[in-house]
Amino acid sequence: MNEKPKTCDGAGWLYSDTVKDHFFNPRNILLDEKNYVADGVGVVGSPACGDMMALWIRVDKENGRIAECKWRTFGCASAIASTSMLSLMATENGGMTLARAKKVTPEAIIDRLGGLPDRKYHCSVLGHQALREAIQDYESHHASNG
């Protein structure tokens, strides 16, 4: 109720403030995917495992950088926050080059999130794989990019 503190977890918040921010205010969500024309799409994870994410990219053909990186995630707070952070990393500072985006590691995402609890490390950070898949999807339709 209103007179209670806003959070009732006696043990404190398990996640960093950055994770909390990206969980409650995720960046680059794609709500209207039916009307979105993407250059590449990647899907990883499985509903049975409790984590699944879809990622859509648009590529700037002039400079070969990621212009837009949109996503949807089924999963826990760290799955949602890590996909959100990845979408930010892929598009900030004029966008990542495709070559660089293919090499994003889970560790880099976790670093930017200010860390994750150990048990979240392996299961919830899958976004980089979805990004790689989306780039491959794009490249398979634009063979000249090699």
């Binding site: 109720m1 209103n2 209670k4 503190p5 806003k6 959070t7 009732c8 977890d9 969980f23 409650f24 995720p26 969500i29 794609l30 709500l31 995917e33 039916k34 799409v41 899907v43 994870g45 509903p47 049975a48 495992c49 409790g50 984590d51 699944m52 994410m53 879809a54 996503w71 949807r72 995630t73 089924f74 999963g75 826990c76 707070a77 799955a79 949602i80 048990r119 979240k120 299961c123 919830s124």
Partner: protein
């Protein structure tokens, strides 16, 4: 049969064992001859007295409290189903504990629901794998035949002696928006 004192508002760290005379069991804690050799260690008299008193109080209010909680539970289950039609009640609608309402929410994950509820000031629990060390969701829900996908989105609402209808109304007022929001974010609702 074992009873846990803290489940009935008694002190933590004490419970009781009920067994037939003549049944021989091995002690879990060795070293002393206390409690007929069944549990070594000096008995804590304050905890034992507290547990006995908690049991007395629980028994005195059992029927009245069970009926009050059953009313709250049925009210909560009915309203939740009205507000969130896709929610699936786990277990029998009537043949269940008076203080338990357990639901699975399709396409969304339990820990996320829990954290958003927590943020809104509502405490609940989840059978989602993400809240545990094991990656599989609740073995009970799986044994009931539920898909792993749905079991990942399960939430248990428990009621107690101090739960009021106003609190349930508050929970019901914040939950639909949380479920809607997580559905919007979910990859399982996306057309890919």
């Amino acid at each position: 049969m074992t009873l846990n004192g803290s489940k009935i508002y008694g002190p933590k760290g004490v419970g009781l064992l009920y067994k037939k005379n003549g049944i021989k069991i091995e002690p879990l804690i060795m070293g002393g001859e206390q409690e007929g050799g069944l549990r070594a260690g000096t008995e804590s008299v304050p905890l034992i007295v507290g547990c006995a008193e908690a049991l007395r109080l629980a028994e005195a209010s059992r029927e009245e409290e069970a009926s009050r909680l059953t009313g709250l539970r049925d009210y909560f289950i009915e309203r939740l189903r009205e507000k969130i039609p896709e929610a699936q009640l786990n277990g029998h609608a009537q043949m269940r504990l008076p203080n338990n309402a357990h639901f699975s929410f399709p396409h969304i994950e339990g820990e996320s629901i829990l954290l958003m509820l927590d943020h809104a000031g509502v405490e609940a629990s989840t059978g989602s794998a993400c809240s545990a060390r094991d990656l599989r969701p609740s073995h009970v829900l799986l044994a009931l035949g539920q898909d792993a996908e749905l079991a990942h989105g399960s939430i248990r609402f428990s009621f107690g002696r101090y739960t009021t209808k106003e609190e349930l109304d508050y929970c019901l007022s914040v939950l639909p928006a949380i479920v809607k929001r997580l559905n919007e974010l979910s990859a399982l609702t996306a057309t890919i």
